[in-house]
């Protein structure tokens, strides 16, 4: 089912998504007592990158050339599937959850492939870690979705989110709380935030996401950075739909509320980044599995006849 | 009824008092006095009330009578033995730990814990309420752990740790069983006792009862020494001081067995559960026999050998109850006989240890020459523990195999005899090596292990085992038959 108004809103969200990393950085700067980069910084970065020329390593193949495009388009397609502004997604059908997960998966797959393509050890390390963490985080996402499906007995994301109201939260507070926490952790994992990965580090040995895009320049890097912002927007909107509900509001109010909620999520991520230190690499899998366990607990809670 | 309460509370009081008495002699004498008073009161209690006392918390039936007398008797023997033992083995100074100053340099902990141990066992035996019985059995574990650690060596610490952990885990599982047992009851059942539950056997939920029985069997079985939960037994019983080992093997294992028997009493009234319980008991019994048979062969340490022998006899007990019929009565008789013989063997091992200062079989030779009395008793004990006529253990073991053959369980009987044979061979080699042969190069002074008080308890116990084998007095017979009937069996 295609909803033109939602597609429009989705496009607006995509265009505005680079604001989210900007808000995160501003929050971090606030905690650090600094001014920090302007909220529009990512736009300026992308504009700067587009002006430059690309340099490709000799060892790379066509994979590196096409990867940025695949990443961007898969993320954009995923964005179309996500419910926005409490109004449902641009495109929705039965089982679109699976497509969403796998679109994001395609993006990740090509990023990893391109990273391995460079033949450099740093990228390989980063790729391995990224794949491990994503594999560990998938169950959390899916268990959460399972709970939502069982709660609302719908199979399309838009339909599920339409049915989620404050009633559901009051009846099963623990379940939803656990899922919200678990999905927050998944958001941090998928978007390479502290405490899993430090986006500001300059030590290649400790990078996970950053190191995979180390060899990119100019237009490719611009596309990838933009795709990263869109991915953050996708996960944020999933989380926002879970926590808040605004079906009954009028259109302008819905837009406003949605924007505010997304900004709130970005601020929360910023707070998390400012207050917690990054985990040792040894402990990260434990942490992610822990979030998966939280989701499974929520599932068990739900299935035990609540 | 007051006697029953006194039996439990008195040793607690005197035990705590013992902690504060500074004179060692007074402590030892107090231990003796408490032992005799307890024995006296037990006999009074068992004779005085005809029939059964059934309270909600404490009660006295044939089973408790049997085990109470055995426990009390054994404790008296150990207490007498301890008089000399504590003299020879003064406790050394322990450091202050966590700022708590235990009365170091003394046998205070020994005396106090022995009495607390006695009280806990009395509680476990006399209690009818399942929850209260659990408390008693757990308390026995707690009271006996410091006793195992009496010698403060690395090995005994390791043994005490294993004992503590394994038994506590087992007993925690038994607590789960108690909760499941509570689930079997419906609103009709008034008292959470074996009698109370049996009364309403038609209303019990069989599935929960079976699950509860499994937990009881595994949990209390770990405490009893049934394989494969027996791992702590060889370590604990060999590292503990000899009078403590005698109590552990002779009395404590029986108490744990009583825990299983109480729920068996309930299972007997529910046909579906009884068959299930019998099968499990037979399996665990045979397994224990097998394990003990394997580990006794070529066992280098004679105290560990005795410990494995305890595993074997616990297996025989489980097997006897599992076979049903008059094998149950035989198992009851065997419990009594085994306790007497094992206690005397452990006390004798203490004598040997005192003289030779080694627990290894290879270090001990020509026992009959160096320690004539203990050596002769040791040899007699060997015959007794392996079930040789005319000792009572022969009667009970034979009765069990007879019932097995009569009921057509050929395989069970064959395995039973096979494992008994293994144990016999293993112990034969060890005992023969120890008793006969030429004297070793070391000159040992046999008199260190032959004083009157050291020899008296083993003599008494072994003689009792012999006499019981020759002639079963009426009061013994009625008690054993009564216990068997309670468990759904037939008289001997």
């Amino acid at each position: 089912m295609i909803s033109p108004s939602s597609i429009l809103i989705c496009l607006v969200m995509i265009v505005l998504s680079p604001l989210l990393p900007g808000i995160i950085n501003k929050t971090k700067a606030f905690f650090g007592g600094r001014q920090g980069p302007p909220v529009l910084q990512l736009y300026l970065d992308i504009a700067k990158l587009l002006r430059k020329t690309s340099v490709y390593s000799q060892t790379t193949t066509v994979v590196t050339r096409i990867a940025p495009f695949v990443i961007l388009f898969s993320t954009l397609a995923a964005a179309l599937l996500v419910p926005v502004a409490f109004r449902g997604a641009g495109v929705s059908f039965t089982g679109d959850i699976i497509l969403l997960a796998y679109l994001l998966g395609i993006g990740r797959f090509f990023m990893v492939l391109a990273a391995l393509d460079t033949g450099s050890a740093f990228e390989g390390m980063g790729a391995a870690r990224e794949v491990l963490y994503s594999a560990l985080a998938e169950p959390a996402l899916f268990c959460g979705l399972l709970v939502l499906i069982s709660e609302t007995s719908q199979t399309s994301l838009s339909a599920i989110y339409e049915k989620l109201t404050a009633e559901c939260w009051w009846q099963n507070p623990m379940t939803f709380l656990l899922i919200a926490v678990s999905w927050m952790i998944v958001l941090l994992v998928e978007n390479a935030r502290i405490p899993i990965d430090d986006p500001n580090t300059h030590l290649e040995l400790t990078m996970i996401h950053e190191v995979m895009i180390l060899d990119y320049s100019s237009k490719d890097l611009a596309l990838i950075e933009f795709a990263g912002a869109v991915k953050l927007a996708v996960f944020s909107s999933l989380l926002v739909g879970l926590v808040f509900s605004g079906n009954e509001l009028s259109l302008p109010l819905q837009l406003l509320a949605f924007a505010a909620a997304m900004a709130l999520v970005a601020i929360v991520v910023g707070v998390v980044e400012s207050t917690i230190a990054r985990f040792r690499l040894l402990h990260v899998p434990k942490f992610i599995v822990g979030s998966g366990a939280l989701a499974i607990i929520a599932l068990i809670l739900k299935l035990s006849g609540n | 009824m007051i006697t029953a309460y006194a039996l439990i509370i008195l040793p607690v009081i005197t035990g705590v008092i013992s902690l504060f008495i500074s004179s060692e002699r007074v402590r030892r004498n107090l231990l003796m006095i408490v032992a005799f008073v307890h024995l006296f009161m037990s006999i009074l209690l068992c004779n005085g009330s005809v029939g059964e006392l059934n309270g909600i918390w404490l009660g006295l039936d044939a089973l408790s009578r049997l085990f109470l007398i055995i426990t009390s008797l054994l404790f008296t023997g150990s207490a007498i033995y301890s008089m000399v033992y504590l003299d020879k083995h003064p406790h050394f100074n322990g450091p202050a730990i966590a700022g708590l100053h235990m009365p170091a340099n003394s046998n205070a902990i020994f005396a106090a814990c022995m009495q607390l141990f006695l009280s806990a066992m009395s509680l476990a035996i006399l209690s009818t309420h399942f929850g209260l019985q659990w408390i008693g059995i757990e308390a026995t574990t707690l009271a006996s752990t410091p006793l195992i650690y009496y010698h403060r060596s690395r090995r005994s610490l390791e043994a005490a740790w294993k004992y503590m952990i394994l038994c506590s885990v087992g007993i925690a599982l038994a607590l789960m069983g108690v909760f499941f047992l509570a689930m079997t009851t419906s609103s009709h059942v008034q008292h959470f006792t074996p009698a109370g539950l049996s009364l309403f056997s038609g209303y019990l939920k069989v599935e929960w009862l079976k699950v509860a029985f499994i937990f009881f069997l595994v949990g209390y079985g770990a405490k009893m020494g049934l394989a494969p939960m027996h791992n702590w037994l060889p370590d604990a019983h060999s590292e503990a001081p000899s009078p403590v080992s005698a109590m552990l093997s002779g009395a404590l294992l029986n108490c744990a067995f009583l825990g299983i028997l109480r729920i068996y009493q309930v299972c007997v009234t529910v046909p579906g559960a009884m068959v299930f319980a019998n099968e499990l008991l037979v399996i665990f019994g045979l397994l224990s026999l097998a394990v003990s048979g394997i580990f006794i062969l070529r066992q280098p340490d004679y105290k560990r050998m005795l410990a494995y022998s305890s595993v074997e006899h616990m297996g025989i007990l489980a097997l006897g109850v599992g076979l049903g019929g008059s094998a149950i009565a035989a198992a009851m008789l065997h419990a009594a006989g085994h306790s007497l013989v094992k206690a005397s063997l452990f006390l004798l091992s203490g004598n040997i240890l005192a003289v030779y200062a080694s627990k290894k079989v290879e270090d001990i030779k020509a026992l009959l020459k160096t320690m004539p009395i203990s050596g002769a008793l040791w040899l007699a004990g060997f015959f007794a523990i392996t079930g040789t006529p005319p000792f009572t253990t022969f009667n009970s073991e034979f009765a069990i195999v007879r019932v097995a053959l009569q009921s057509g369980s050929w395989k069970t009987a064959m395995l039973y005899l096979l494992f008994l044979l293994l144990v016999f061979i293993g112990m034969l080699t060890i005992f023969m090596n120890m008793c006969f042969g030429k004297k070793g190069e070391r000159e040992v002074d046999g008199s260190a292990g032959e004083s009157f008080w050291q020899v008296l308890p083993p003599v008494v116990f072994l003689t009792a085992a012999l006499l019981l084998g020759l002639y079963l007095p009426d009061f013994v017979r009625t008690t054993i038959d009564g216990a068997a009937v309670l468990l759904g069996g037939k008289a001997l």
């Binding site: 499974i296 | 408390i135 610490l157």
Partner: protein, 224 residues
């Protein structure tokens, strides 16, 4: 009550994955507090009787204050701070914990049909605590963690009992509590001794007494 049960399950998971011993002790103390509050919420009781209050206070006092104090003292004396990498690694432990949780859920699901259980979530948490306590006991190498595992096991049994709606009198419950307390107390004291004797708290190296080791003939004199 569901909330408390969920928190109990989460605390168990944290225990399974934590390698810092102090954190583990604090977590078990937290469990003690939760357990103390549990009787107050047992389904069906509109009023909070004196019995429940006594249980709560005793529980919290013993399990959350006294025992952690003792175990922390033992910890500081021994100088150990972290658990050695156990037989099953910490990350794998959490995954195993998730599997155990699923198994508990399955078991309770099967049990639902045979009896009325007042709160299935609490029963699941109870089973899970029993399993994770056993898991800790089996796979960890430090004696302190084994003690904690035993405490978690007892907590699990207690929770199971509560959720099955067993109504024992206060005396029995108190007796059970007391037994557990003394048990852990003794274990704590033994921890001091173990550390003194062996210079480490690693129970994996407790292998002097065994019939399966090849060199049974140790050089030590028999303990006299």
């Amino acid at each position: 009550m569901n909330g408390i049960a969920t928190l109990l399950a989460i605390s168990c998971l944290l225990l399974l994955g934590s390698s810092r011993l102090l954190v583990s002790i604090r977590m078990v103390a937290f469990q003690g507090v939760l357990l103390g509050l549990l009787p107050l919420f047992v389904a069906g009781s509109g009023h909070i009787g004196a019995a429940a209050l006594i249980l709560t206070i005793t529980n919290i006092g013993l399990k959350s204050i006294l025992l952690p104090w003792l175990l922390t003292r033992a910890l500081f004396e021994s100088g150990a701070r972290r658990e050695i990498e156990p037989f099953i690694g910490f990350g794998a432990s959490i995954m195993a914990g998730v599997v155990l949780l699923a198994i508990s859920g399955y078991i309770v699901n099967r049990l639902q049909s045979t009896a009325e259980i007042s709160s299935s979530i609490t029963l699941i948490a109870g089973f899970f605590m029993v399993f994770s306590g056993l898991f800790l006991l089996i796979t960890r190498r430090k004696a302190l963690t084994q003690t904690l595992g035993f405490l978690v096991l007892e907590n699990g049994v207690f929770t199971t009992g509560l959720s099955l709606g067993s109504e024992f009198s206060v005396y029995v419950e108190l007796g059970i509590l007391l037994d557990v307390f003394v048990g852990i107390f003794l274990m704590g004291i033994m921890l001091f001794h173990i550390d003194r004797e062996f210079d480490h708290l690693d129970v994996d190296r407790f292998n002097e007494l065994s019939d399966l080791t090849v060199d049974v003939a140790s050089n030590e004199e028999a303990s006299e």
